[in-house]
Amino acid sequence: MTRRRHWRRFLGRIFLSVIVALVTILMGVPLYWVATGAVKTNREIYTFPPIWIPRNPQWSNFVEAWQAVPFPRFFVNSIVTTAGAVALELVFALLTAYALVFLRVRGRGLVFGFVVAALLVPSTVTLLPNYLTVARLGWINTYQGLIIPVAAVAFGVFLFRQHFLTLPRDLLDAARLDGCGHFGLIRHVVIPLSQPVMVTFLVIYLVAHWNDFLWPLVATNRLEWRTVPVGVAYLYQVEGVQNWGPILAGTLMALLPMLVVYVVAQRWIVKGIGGGAIKG
């Protein structure tokens, strides 16, 4: 009896392993395809059946992509925009959530409701009016135009507030007894106790801003102000279907920063997004 059960369990595990491997391959092939395509010669790309392992890697594809469109500029734009937006959001979220939890003020529930209700307004509805506002301010093709309209935080405030509510009161009171003011509390107590939430916050907003497409597309119209995602779409347009090698090389360059972030911070991303979703 037990022996047969062992066998069944063993076979079951093999079967499951095979399925998991299949799923992994299916999900992974597109990533493999862009990574290898980036270093294929055009001749290798345009043959059928496709070549799975490029024979001699064409690093020149990257150079060509870099020269076909102003990639360095796209990267600078994306870095400044993402860093600026995320930094502002982090400060705003921390301060707002701190005020909502630790400052004794009437009507803070109302303020919290006002902030969170913003989550219900889809960016779809704000797109055209925000474009008009930014245009009227003369902010088209500027960093402030790319950053300020997307820097308001709602979800982040919610995230920090939920965490702050779990912080031990005794510790905060003790710090206050030691003569800590509110800024001191934030710096020496609240922030050190919020590291995991802050990492989650940073990763979520970092990914969202780096990948954002619609707002940069609308808020800029000159090539030197485009961000990486918009720039990659442009690269595809100008190189058309005649020159896939450099297109895939450029695409890979656009993907790399987030892939690196993902590999480094995978643990926190997975925990943050999975756990955050469930608690919320």
Binding site: R13, L16, S17, I19, V20, M27, P30, L31, W33, Y46, T47, F48, P49, P50, F92, L95, T96, A99, V105, R108, F114, V115, A118, V121, P122, T124, V125, T126, L127, L128, P129, L132, T133, I148, A152, V153, D173, R176, L177, G179, H182, N211, F213, L214, V218, P229, V230, V232, A233, Y236, I247, T251, L255, M258, Y262, Q266, I269, I273, G274, A277
Partner: protein, 320 residues
């Protein structure tokens, strides 16, 4: 008024009485206003941005929807509900609506069902499971525009991966992105590939929170693997499924970059979804009023859908 002042005064006295409050209240002004000045200082920047770039646009968008305007001329022509009437009677918009429903059902259904299956698989204690999880979730953090570009290459009927798969299956790959029906299928496929990692991760977190005793109890009662799934796993995942349905529907309605790069809404209008239509009306056709009206309708529609999902879900889902 008098009473509220009394309350403030009482609180002040109470604070003074406690040792922790005594230091803070050494400044008189602070004592009178409490934490108000600091509260305002902390909250105002974010609130201002929310007002200017979230709430005001909501109102302004509603105003624009009553106008006829090309975004350039100094005068906006008031046309009442003409834009709404046009949209509700327009054949093209009806097609856009239909596309949106197909896209939403396909992407939400695809990501939620596949996500559950993937999570069940990836929850198994197998060798290399961490790698599998890593690969499944990776596409979710990537730029939709970049993803679309390399999928165009993969979907190429002459030399793409998909052509290879088709030939393994003994057929020839159709020209997915130029096909009036298959273009939508392809866009949904790419969207599901990119986003299924999210639903998987959320389901995984949910699975790991199901108390082990429930399974043990079910096994003692003679439940097999199917019964355990049916009577323990599924009900326990109910609230998460509801959450995923609502969130996935909302993000599906906001899909833009994939569609813009993969098909640009085409061929003809075959993959023009609601948001894409709004963008096209506003920024290509310069028809601000119609874009705004479509945006208002989208907002209302999405709110109703979310509400219905939560209502119907709550009847089926038990939270404990």
């Amino acid at each position: 008024m008098g009473r509220s002042v009394d309350v403030v005064e009482q609180e002040r006295v109470a604070k003074l009485a406690t040792p922790s409050g005594s230091r803070e209240l050494s400044v008189d002004l602070r004592g009178r206003l409490g934490d108000w000045p600091l509260f305002v200082l902390f909250v105002t920047p974010n609130l201002l941005l929310l007002i200017v770039f979230t709430y005001w646009p909501l109102l302004y968008n509603a105003y624009l929807s009553l106008m006829q305007w090309d975004l350039i001329s100094p005068v906006k022509l008031f046309v009442g509900f003409e834009n709404y009437r046009f949209l509700l009677e327009d054949n093209e918009f009806r097609e856009v609506f239909r596309n949106t429903v197909v896209f939403t059902v396909g992407t939400v259904g695809g990501t939620v069902i596949l996500g559950l299956l993937f999570a069940l698989l990836l929850d198994q204690p197998l060798r290399g499971i961490a790698l599998a999880r890593g690969v499944v979730f990776a596409p979710y953090v990537l730029s939709g525009a970049a993803v679309a570009v390399f999928w165009i290459n993969m979907l190429n009927p002459r030399f793409g991966v998909v052509a290879q798969v088709a030939s393994w299956l003994g057929t020839v790959s159709p020209n997915w992105l130029n096909h009036p029906q298959l273009a939508m299928v392809a866009v949904i496929l790419v969207y599901v590939w990119k986003n299924v990692g999210f639903t998987t991760i959320v389901y995984l977190a949910g699975l790991q929170r199901i108390p082990q005793e429930l399974y043990e109890a079910a096994t003692v009662d003679g439940a097999g693997i199917v019964e355990r799934f049916r009577y323990v796993t599924l009900p326990q995942l109910g609230p998460i499924t509801l959450f995923l349905l609502v969130v996935s529907t909302i993000s599906s309605f906001q899909a833009f970059d994939l569609i813009k790069v993969l098909t640009n809404g085409g061929p003809v209008n075959a993959t023009t979804t609601w948001l894409f239509y709004i963008w096209e009306q506003g920024f290509v056709a310069f028809n601000a009023g119609r874009a705004a009206a479509a945006a208002v309708l989208l907002f209302v529609f999405l709110a109703v859908i979310s509400f219905l999902q939560v209502r119907m879900g709550e009847r089926r889902v038990s939270y404990d």
